[in-house]
Amino acid sequence: MSVANNKDVIICEGVKKWFGDFQALKGVNATVKEQEVVVVIGPSGSGKSTFIRCINRLEAHQEGTIIVDGIELTNDVRNIDKIRSEVGMVFQQFNLFPHLTILDNIALAPLWVRKQPRGEVEEEAMALLERVGIPEQADKFPGQLSGGQQQRVAIARALAMKPKIMLFDEPTSALDPEMIKEVLDVMKELARSGMTMIVVTHEMGFAREVADRVLFFDYGLVVEEGTPDHFFENPQHDRTKLFLSQIL
């Protein structure tokens, strides 16, 4: 399946971002096509999280442009609302709402943001829980679930808004090895179903198997990008070679 001819859904040009005096992004250029799976890797502190958080404006970039699905990200609240309901996000620390049941966690946004009827929402939520493999946990609270289960709930919660694009920020980093697989399986299934995905991860196996393209971040910049084969077998840049030699 080639995505090369699909249209661009995310276009970033010269994106710059500062935290106080510290510059985290130094002019990032990147595009993502429809149904493409892009994996972002790079050393710690290189700006990977900052980059994908700019895409749904959890962080506001200061210079450059980001266009998501034809809408430019500005301070305009309406644009932000529109984009946030089309872009789902999964966090490293799950960030489930501890005071709500699993079902309510998933149902919350469709109910209040999309204003769908509850019966419909709950049906869909159950279907999503089936999809991520834990329908029996619907009435429990997040604190009663294992990390892997929580992360799968978080994925279901994001999917409940029927997003066009999914962002994953190191979804497996807080998990024990045996739980990583169950989460990655869900993500692979999602990728095969044609979801557009940006995934920050250190799981190189996942990158090789699923990614259409790999972006390598360092010093707040995309230092190198390419297909997984190209990237892992034949890296161009010294930094990339060094990084790969350390983790492989």
Binding site: N56, L58, D81, R84, S85, V87, G88, M89, F91, Q93, F94, N95, L96, F97, P98, H99, L108, A109, L111, W112, V113, K115, Q116, P117, R118, G119, E120, F141, G143, Q144, A154, R157, A158, M161
Partner: protein
């Protein structure tokens, strides 16, 4: 230390009491106190107990209105302090740092001085007002219950439950169909409708007056001793139920779990407390005091008659007379008496300088502490929760209501209850401004009767009841909130 206190209570003390001609008793409760109180429901109380009741009510009045105002103000300031807006958050910090670092008593004096330096009432100011501040206090327009208020209130209580039901039905409709059901609007319209209809039909409830009088007669017919018996029985029952429940929590499928020292101690404590209440009920209940009309009666009988009187009083309100249940009353400045004193009349509501100073001071002071608690509670909700809600596209108001509030509430509630209690206790500084609250009245009584120990006991009982009721409410909500998270 404990010893010192026990010593005061113990033998040494009674010896000294005897030496200094101080008797320990409750007879003074019925004696005319021989002083007047500047404000409250009764300015010339005819018995010690009534004077204390007036003081207690004054405390409650300033405490509850203060709690409501301080909560509102504190919430606004706490949220303002978290605002991204530089100047708003700086102003909020300035308020907090100024207010909470200056002694409360000084602040009360400050407001007192400020109010007293207002111009006095003169010939020119005579007339009807909406709102007026002078060195006599703050007078304001107010809404008072009027003819048929109580029957109307009864109808309104029914209306409230009806409105809740309507709102629920509408919410269910919304959830089932996805269309906006406007539950809040429908509920409001229901209660509005009930209020309007009730406004005119309340005379129809006049038949209930027979019921209230009947209850009053019933209570009045009960022998006095049974009041003590009832209180004692209640105490024992509560203790017994508590112990049983406590044991139930310790019960495991395998039988009763092992009890620690602590558990046994708690149960003994509950039992002993009940016995102490039983003792007090009979001891104090049996004490004879002379009523203002000259006859003697036991405290228990006085209590019983008081309860019966409440129902008689209630019965009197159900006259069936038509009229509006609420009346708006505006303050007037008038020339009173032969001396030509210019004064506020009896209409409207008047906060004396003392009341207003105490109220303003405790409200502003407590609001500063509440603001810090609110801020801490909101900050304690993990940052990830914000991000997750944003990523899902929740609006800020939804995020606050659905995510932050339920989580922050649990953190905020216990210290908030503490602040409420502090506020209630702090109103006692009103003594220094001659505000007639319970400590001021009590200490005047002390000087008049020399009965210091009984009055200290009354204080303790008063504040203890207050703090127990407050912590009861806090615990109730805490348990409800805690259940949600499990």
């Amino acid at each position: 230390m404990v010893l010192l206190f026990f010593k005061i209570l113990g033998g040494e003390a009674s010896k000294n009491f005897a030496r200094s001609d101080i008797s320990f008793g409750f007879g003074w409760l019925g004696d005319p106190p021989g002083f007047s109180i500047r404000e409250g429901i009764d300015l010339q109380p005819n018995s010690g107990i009534r004077a204390l009741a007036v003081g207690g009510l004054n405390t409650l009045r300033v405490a509850f209105s203060g709690i409501v105002a301080a909560t509102l103000l504190g919430t606004v300031i706490g949220v303002a302090r978290l605002s991204k807006n530089f100047i708003v958050s700086k102003l909020a910090s300035f308020y907090i740092e100024t207010i909470r670092n200056v002694p409360l008593l000084l602040q009360m004096f400050f407001w007192q001085v400020l109010l007293q330096s207002r111009s006095s009432l003169t010939e020119e100011s005579v007339g009807t007002k909406l709102f007026d501040v002078s060195n006599k206090g703050i007078a304001s327009t107010w809404v008072f219950p009027s003819t048929g208020f109580w029957p109307w209130l009864l109808i309104m209580i029914g209306g409230y439950y009806l409105a809740r039901k309507v709102a629920r039905t509408r919410r269910k409709y919304q959830e089932d169909t996805g269309e906006d059901g406007h539950p809040g609007l429908f509920g409001f319209l229901t209660i509005l409708g009930v209020a309007i209809v009730g406004w005119f039909v309340h005379p129809l409830l006049s038949f209930l007056s027979i019921l209230w009088d009947g209850i009053g007669n019933l209570i009045g017919a009960v022998p006095a001793a049974s009041v003590s018996l009832l209180i004692a029985g209640l105490a024992v029952a509560v203790a017994a139920i508590w112990i049983k429940r406590f044991l139930d929590t310790k019960r495991t499928p395998a039988g009763l779990g092992k009890l620690t020292d602590d558990d046994i101690f708690r149960m003994i404590f509950a039992g002993v407390s009940a016995l102490v209440i039983v003792w007090i009920a009979f001891k104090v209940g049996g004490a004879i005091i002379n009523k203002p009309d000259g006859t003697d009666a036991s405290v228990a009988a006085v209590l019983r008659d008081g309860l019966a009187n409440i129902f008689y009083w209630f019965g009197d309100k159900f006259t069936g007379e038509a009229g509006s249940p609420l009346a708006i009353s505006r303050p007037v400045v008038e020339v009173r008496g032969t001396g030509g004193f210019i004064q506020y009349g009896t209409t409207g509501i008047l906060a004396t300088v003392a009341f207003a100073s105490v109220w303003i001071a405790v409200t502003l002071y407590t609001a500063a502490f509440i603001a810090e608690i609110i801020r801490g509670g909101i900050l304690a909700v993990a940052k990830g929760q914000t991000e997750a809600s944003q990523a899902l596209g929740l609006r800020r108001s939804q995020y606050l209501r659905l995510i932050v509030l339920p989580q922050a509430f649990r953190i905020i509630l216990p210290p908030l209850g503490n602040q409420y209690l502090n506020l209630a206790k702090n109103t006692s500084l009103g003594t220094a401004l001659a505000f007639g609250e319970i400590v001021a009245v009590g200490s005047t009584l002390m000087n008049q009767t020399g009965q210091s120990l009984p009055i200290v006991l009354v204080w303790m009982a008063f504040y203890l009841t207050l703090s127990l009721s407050l912590s009861g409410v806090v615990n109730y909500y805490n348990r409800r909130m805690a259940l949600v998270e499990r």
